[in-house]
């Protein structure tokens, strides 16, 4: 006997993501989900980004890692409101699911925030599959990785709303072909905005900061 079901397997996550989205809309806070492979410089990029956005914008950060609060400690130095999620309590998950986000967001008290940034677990595969109720997704790639990463992980670059190419200060010392890396991103996602910058030197940050400011303003009016 065949029983029809016709259900999306990730429906539980999608339902929770919609609840999160409703909560974020009610709080009038803009939510950015930042993803990348481990070691691309996400946390340092965030630190530099925060110092340029604050105090004009009120920002909170949720950091996901399997273990340690190292990233939260690094971010706290900027004065940002930050909370850490460690997924080892939940089985060492490779991504942040929607159900983990809402409690952390409530703990940060989003009423006082214009922008909430979620630094996802370093992984170019799984986080791409899980909606957490964000407004935009940003993927960070660095020049110490391969130019073909966008082609190897197309889903991540498809679901992203913007991409950062980080560590451009290292280009003189590497064989990395930056135009090819950007071209590969556009192959997967033709209209993807790409920001080439260095979290170490601060080069290239202005267009990236402007992009965030416009996005936050479009949603929150602030």
């Amino acid at each position: 006997m065949e029983i029809k079901i016709q259900k999306r397997v990730l429906e539980a996550n999608e339902t929770q993501a919609q609840k999160n989205r409703q909560y974020f809309n009610d709080q009038n806070v803009f939510v950015m989900n930042m993803m990348s492979s481990p070691g691309s410089g996400k946390t340092q990029t965030l630190c530099k980004t925060l110092t340029k956005l604050m105090p004009a914008l009120r920002v909170g950060v949720i950091v996901g890692d399997i273990c340690t609060s190292n990233d939260a400690d690094r971010l706290a130095v900027t004065g940002v409101k930050v909370t850490q999620i460690n997924t080892d309590q939940f089985g060492g998950d490779c991504h942040l699911g929607a159900s983990l986000i809402l409690n952390s967001a409530q703990a940060l008290d989003c009423r006082d925030l214009d922008l909430l940034i979620v630094e996802n677990i370093g992984n170019l595969v799984c986080p791409a599959e899980f909606d957490i109720g964000e407004d935009v997704r940003v993927v960070v790639l660095s020049v110490t990785e391969g130019e073909d990463k966008p082609l190897k992980y197309p889903l991540m670059f498809r679901v992203a709303d913007a991409a950062i190419l980080n560590k451009i200060d290292l280009l003189p010392y590497l064989d990395f072909d930056a135009p090819l890396a950007v071209e590969n991103m556009k192959t997967v996602h033709p209209q993807l905005p790409v920001f080439e910058l260095s979290a170490k030197t601060g080069a290239g940050f202005d267009p990236w900061i402007e992009w965030i400011r416009i996005k936050v303003f479009e949603k929150t009016g602030r």
Binding site: M1, E2, I3, K4, I5, Q6, K7, R8, V9, L10, E11, A12, G91, D93, C94, H95, G97, N123, V125, C126, A128, E129, F130, P150, L151, K152, P154, L155, R158, K186, T187, V188, H189, P190, Q191
Partner: protein, 115 residues
């Protein structure tokens, strides 16, 4: 990498779908649709499913996975085509954005009970 979580959801959805009036149900087959662009590896999913399904009415059930091709549509000229590699650029206009028509499915369509 997250196939274990997906297998857990799969088993839960299937168990919920079995009519309660059936005594000692035994599921022979689960029919799934998995898009080629979804981050799910069929072999891993099958392995995880066997682990999770143990000691449930789904123990021993076969996962019948229909792979769904990646289809996209150009938002400018409306051309529609199947994406074979990671090339999402419209062959005609090159720059326009495309929308996904299919290829991201992770769906359970039906289950088959033993008579």
């Amino acid at each position: 990498m997250h196939e274990m979580g997906i297998a857990e959801q799969l088993v839960q959805i299937a168990l919920d779908a079995i009519p309660p009036e059936i005594e000692n149900p035994r599921v022979e087959k689960l029919n799934l649709k998995i898009g080629k662009l979804s981050a799910v590896v069929a072999h891993s999913l099958t392995f995880c499913f066997e682990v999770i399904a143990k000691d449930t009415p789904l123990e021993g059930a076969v996962l019948e996975i229909e792979t769904v091709p990646v289809m996209v549509q150009c938002l400018s000229c409306n051309a529609r085509w199947e994406v074979a590699g990671p090339e999402f650029r419209c062959p005609d206009c090159k720059v326009a954005e495309v929308k996904m028509v299919s290829g991201r499915e992770i769906e359970i369509t039906s289950l088959e009970l033993a008579q």
